[in-house]
């Protein structure tokens, strides 16, 4: 087995396996929300917008950068794992061979973005915006080369910092309570999911609040828009459950009552939805009616709490989870149409309570799950 194949097996393939949920979400966000017949024209318009507006290019560059950061973090975390210490032997290879092997691994994990960037750059050359096209090529080359340089430095000097994220700006020395553990996890280990989810949620919410889909105000439309934004949080919730069952397992041995455990998670999701609350406050009173500003926060927290609670029902797998989310969204959609707002909130919290009490103590992570 060549070094490239070995690195692929240890880094490349696990990258896609562990991020299957993220890629599924990305796929749905990019290709699932537009009807098949309009898919090509939709992406052509999107690419042209990227190439013609430098402001839009900067926004997209930021998202690409986040993906590059995600790849970098994944590789560095793999290199920090005890069982992967043998990889440091690659530090003894001739520089050229080492570079080649790591370049192939980096290109493999960077492939989804690289392919899209290549299409953007090609379109740029064809449609007469060569400066933007060259920028795209240089930008991605720099991300890859800089990452490779850092990997090689790490492989040659294993003691040069155990894990980069520990020195990231998101580490503060304050007393942390249980809900904050999740916020810290989000800011330290789930940055890409956090930013992509919130961007998606904000765009949808702003579109609905600004009457993009309907000229006259209707609380039901805002609620449906919010529901679409909440659905985008499903990957984040899934990652939280994985975090709970792996690194927070000790919490099950702590004397915390069942209701307190559930309330803690309700606090977590209330904090997660703070950006949305700010959007609602900013939209009030011009674009949001007084009644709606009260039930929207409860709706959001209840919905995410229910997503979280259904993941206690074994087995915990993404496919079954997405089926549940689809079913919940369908039910809520019809209840929203009939203006049953109070009933929806009672139903969401009631169902979350039911699933939590029914399955929390019966859940056990077994081989093959997540």
């Amino acid at each position: 087995m060549s070094v490239s194949q070995l690195l692929n097996r240890v880094i490349g393939i696990p990258f896609y396996q562990r991020n299957a949920g993220f890629f599924l979400f990305l796929f749905i966000a990019l290709f699932g929300i537009v009807p098949g017949s309009q898919l090509i024209s939709y992406h052509r318009t999107l690419i042209e917008a990227i190439l013609e507006s430098w402001a839009f290019m900067m926004v997209v560059s930021f998202i690409w950068l986040l993906y590059g950061w995600k790849c970098y973090q994944f590789v560095m975390n793999i290199l920090s794992e005890q069982q992967q210490q043998f990889l440091y032997l690659t530090g003894c290879l001739p520089a050229r061979e080492q570079f080649r092997s790591i370049l192939l691994t980096q290109l493999f994990i960077y492939l989804p973005v690289a392919v899209y960037a290549l299409i953007v750059a090609t379109t740029g050359f064809v449609s007469g915006t060569p400066a933007a096209a060259v920028y795209v090529i240089v930008f991605h080359s720099l991300i890859c080369l800089f990452s490779i340089r850092l990997y090689i430095r790490r492989l040659r000097h294993p003691d040069s910092g155990k894990s980069f994220f520990l020195s990231s700006p998101f580490h503060f020395k304050i007393t942390k309570s249980y809900p904050l553990f999740f916020i810290w996890q989000l800011l330290n280990e789930m940055k890409t999911i956090f930013v992509v989810t919130k961007l998606f949620s904000a765009i949808i919410l702003l579109a609905f609040l600004n009457g993009f889909f309907l000229d006259t105000y209707d609380g039901r439309v805002v609620m449906l828009g919010f529901m679409a934004g909440l659905t985008a949080h499903c990957v984040m919730v899934f990652e939280f459950r994985k975090f709970e069952e792996s690194l927070m397992l000790f919490y099950r041995n702590l004397p915390v009552s069942m209701i307190r455990r559930l309330l803690n998670m309700a606090v977590v999701y209330s904090l997660i939805l703070l950006p949305e609350w700010f959007l609602f406050i900013a939209a009030f009173p011009e674009r949001l009616q007084p009644g709606d500003i009260w039930w929207l926060p409860l709706f959001g927290t209840g919905m995410l709490l229910l997503y979280h609670s259904i993941l206690y029902k074994p087995p915990m797998d993404m496919e079954r989870y997405l089926q549940w989310i689809f079913g919940i969204s369908a039910v809520i959609f019809f209840l929203v149409l009939y203006h049953l707002f109070l009933f929806i909130i009672v139903l969401l919290f009631g169902a979350a309570l039911f699933f939590f009490y029914r399955w929390y103590l019966k859940f056990e992570l077994t081989d093959g799950q997540i």
């Binding site: 894990s163 007393t175 309570s177 330290n188 041995n253 702590l254 915390v256 069942m258 019966k362 056990e364």
Partner: protein, 210 residues
């Protein structure tokens, strides 16, 4: 006195633990058994980490199934290879344990001093070696007012200097507070450190006195 009542645990229709009845008196127990015999599963069951059939009851009245919160206040557990979020510091964990398990500052300060963790307890656990992590997990296991402490391989990865310290804490907790210990270890406990009154063997899914 802690009773295991008709405990059964299976994976894929294969029974891994089956204990009709067993009583832990106020003693120190050393649970032995080959790899895969079910020692860790049993410890996790008693610690409330795994679902199972049956019940564990403290002093005939505090049941794991019926009085879970009260039960967990009295049972502390440390894993053989503990895992914590890497961004938390040892101090974050200690404060979190103190808020839930109880325990006071004097107790924590004494344990920090005994286990010699003061130099790194304020750093994120992601920067710890496996031995440092083990010391923090032992510190957490001795926090609060438990009546039953379960230690899975307590001596693995800790340095030679710390082994007698851990032994003396176990002896102190047992002699002064009457705490029951259930230990698993492939290493030999020093015979003069504390008196292991009962040696048990996990075999054929159940516990046998040796």
């Amino acid at each position: 006195m802690i009773q295991l009542q008709d405990i059964h645990k299976s994976y894929n229709q294969q029974e891994v633990v089956s204990i009709p009845f067993f009583t832990f008196e106020k003693q120190i127990y050393w649970l032995k058994g080959i790899n895969g015999s079910g020692k860790t599963t049993l410890l996790k069951i008693i610690a409330g980490l795994l679902p199972f059939e049956g019940d564990v009851v403290i002093e005939g009245k505090i049941s794991l199934k019926k009085n879970r919160t009260e039960y967990l206040r009295l049972v502390n557990y440390v894993e053989a290879e503990p895992l914590y979020p890497s961004f938390l510091t040892g101090l974050d964990l200690l404060q979190f344990y103190r808020r839930t398990k109880g325990g006071n500052k004097e107790q924590s300060d004494r344990l920090i001093e005994l286990l010699q963790v003061s130099s790194f307890i304020g750093n994120p656990v992601g920067t710890y070696s496996s031995g440092m992590l083990k010391k923090i997990s032992l510190l957490l296991a001795f926090t609060g007012q438990p009546c039953f402490i379960l230690l899975d391989e307590p001596l693995v990865t800790i340095d030679d200097k710390t082994v007698p310290v851990v032994n003396s804490i176990i002896r102190d907790y047992h002699e002064k507070q009457g705490i029951i210990f259930l230990l698993t270890s492939h290493q030999l406990f020093e015979t003069d450190a504390f008196h292991v009154t009962h040696q048990l063997k996990m075999n054929h899914q159940t516990i046998h006195p040796l």
